[in-house]
């Protein structure tokens, strides 16, 4: 089959590779209908994550049709159109049973690469370096999905592929970030970042009853999308964000702040990656700034919800959180806990994930798609590939 492969720093090529096969009895094989770019891919592509290997198939946000099933798959079947969260979860372990799916105890095949960094292995993820499991990704004609009965969600008729696609990652990640805020009547929620995850966090906060949602970014086309969703846009290059937020909240500050920017350049938190980020100081400074700003802006006793992917950040003003009594919530997406309700929200038009799909490419043109996505050319929020 054809697949988009990482062959070294900024070296993406569509190549012919072997088709995936069913390896375990709960696996299925998906014919990929749509697969999309994610900001966290850029740091794999830029070579900031040392456990990538030349030839790895990229892509972790996808949907498709089941074309082959393992002998112990009982709930989904051949022909089903399904969306799959990017973290692989077994559904059986203590973490999965407590809705902490991205912390699954059993889906990581290479825990020895990750445990020294984090203390314990997390769930495996598609195409997110070998430290995160090394599973082949979805920018391909076919992808193998383990634990299909837990991880494949049938897309209801009437919901477009483009809507279902982002319920793989951007939507559940954003919605989880809003859910972490424990939104109460009258709450104001500020979201840093209007990329795919930030926009979905904004819609999530609205669905969960936020009085107002404030969206912070610098790209006019992204701020325009946030505004179209009903958020109040703030361009941090044009206003003092802290002052603007105080004014918008009557001096109280946002009840919850969501960081959907991250310092993804630090990737998995490997020291090597961090050192390279330090060399590219502008990245560290820019991105750490969003989080520090959120920490300063959040009201006393408020909630800070961190969705941006962080590595090792050694200048973190902990005293700011402590003295203000801030509750911090963070995680990689526990998608399986949210996908069913997100499909319902999308079906009712309350969630509009397809709005993220600004540019569409064939799989053969996916390197061009990544280039546009990386450089945010032509207002690109997400590039979508149709194999």
């Amino acid at each position: 089959m054809r697949a988009l492969c990482w062959n070294g720093v900024n070296d993406l090529r569509v190549e012919t590779v072997a088709d995936p096969a069913i390896l375990n009895p709960k696996d299925v094989i998906l014919k990929v209908r749509l697969s999309t770019t994610c900001g966290s891919d850029l740091h794999l592509i830029d070579g900031l994550i040392p456990t990538m290997r030349e030839g790895d198939v990229l892509g972790h946000e996808f949907m498709g049709e089941i074309v082959d099933v393992g002998r112990e798959v009982t709930k989904v079947k051949r022909g089903d159109r399904v969306v799959v969260p990017s973290f692989i979860a077994c559904g059986q372990c203590w973490y999965c049973q407590h809705d902490l799916y991205s912390l699954c105890d059993t889906s990581h095949p290479k825990p020895e690469l990750q445990e020294p960094l984090l203390g314990y292995p997390t769930a495996g993820i598609y195409a997110y370096s070998h430290a995160f499991g090394g599973y082949a990704g979805s920018h391909a004609e076919y992808v193998r999905v383990p634990f299909a009965d837990t991880d494949c969600f049938v897309v209801p008729d009437g919901l477009a592929d483009e809507d279902a696609l982002f319920i793989s990652d951007a939507a559940p990640t954003g919605f989880m970030g809003a859910d972490f805020c424990n939104i109460q009547r009258g709450d104001l929620v500020a979201v840093w970042g209007c990329g795919g995850v930030g926009l979905m966090a904004q819609q999530g906060a609205m669905i969960l009853g936020a009085e107002r949602v404030i969206a912070i970014d610098q790209y006019p086309e992204r701020l325009a999308k946030a505004e179209a969703f009903g958020a109040i846009p703030l361009d941090f290059t044009k206003v003092d964000v802290i002052d603007a937020l105080k004014e918008l909240t009557g001096g109280r500050g946002p009840d919850a702040c969501i960081d959907a920017v991250g310092m993804e350049a630090a990737g998995t938190g490997l020291q090597h990656a961090y050192d390279r980020v330090k060399q590219a100081l502008y990245m560290e400074t820019d991105r750490g700034t969003a989080l520090r700003q959120a920490m300063l802006a959040v009201r006393k006793g408020g909630t800070l919800s961190i969705l941006g992917v962080y590595g090792l950040m050694d200048k973190f003003p902990l005293g700011l959180l402590m003295n203000k009594g801030v509750t911090v919530r963070t995680a990689q997406q526990h998608g399986q806990a949210y996908v069913p309700r997100l499909l319902e929200h999308a079906l009712r038009g309350e969630l509009t994930p397809a709005a993220l799909a600004t540019h569409r490419f064939s799989l053969e043109d996916s390197p061009t798609g990544y280039h546009m996505f990386k450089h945010k050319e032509d207002g690109c929020v997400r590039a979508v590939f149709a194999p």
Partner: protein
């Protein structure tokens, strides 16, 4: 006690623990299933069970080194399983698995210890060099695989899968 020998002895002993949300008797039965032993040590050795109590082990080291031994269960109780290599082992070793109830609804704790006695003295580094894997990793990964098998009936793997190397598949 000679402190140097003591240090070395600790290095050669590998320990790890996991908690699995299943009752101890079920886990003990699964551990003693000959098929289980041949699946959970694959990162370290090929294990061929001869019967319920004995197995043949073949560990491959770097540069083509092969080390063989036969193991035998020496004690199988409700809370503990112990085994030992038999005479003539290339790398004499003993193993002990203890089951303890975990608090609350968390199931059962498994505490695994394997001690190696490499030829030429008890030196932890020698184990790493012999097998090309640190002793701690041998036991930890085996317990993780066992946990996956106990909870899901399968062991996570990516082997083989598509990749643009080695003729299109990662092995």
């Amino acid at each position: 006690m000679n402190p140097v020998q003591s240090d070395n002895a600790i290095k050669a002993a590998a320990r790890a623990s996991v908690t699995i949300g299943r009752p101890a008797d079920e886990l003990r039965t699964l551990w003693l299933d000959p098929g289980t032993q041949s699946r959970i040590w694959t990162h370290f050795a090929e294990v061929n069970p001869l019967d319920g109590r004995t197995a043949e082990w073949l560990a491959r080291g770097p540069a083509g080194g092969e080390y063989r031994w036969r193991s035998e269960a020496v004690e199988v109780g409700p809370d503990e399983i112990r085994w030992s290599s038999l005479d003539g082992a290339d790398v004499p070793n003993t193993g002990q698995l203890i089951f303890r109830p975990a608090p609350g609804d968390r199931g059962t704790e498994l505490h695994l210890e394997v001690r190696f006695d490499p030829p030429g003295g008890v030196i932890g580094e020698a184990v790493s060099k012999l097998f090309h894997i640190v002793p701690g990793e041998i036991v930890r990964h085996a317990l993780y695989k066992f946990r996956a098998l106990a909870l899901t009936g399968e062991i996570p793997t990516t082997d083989p899968q598509p990749a643009a190397r080695k003729g299109g598949a990662d092995r």
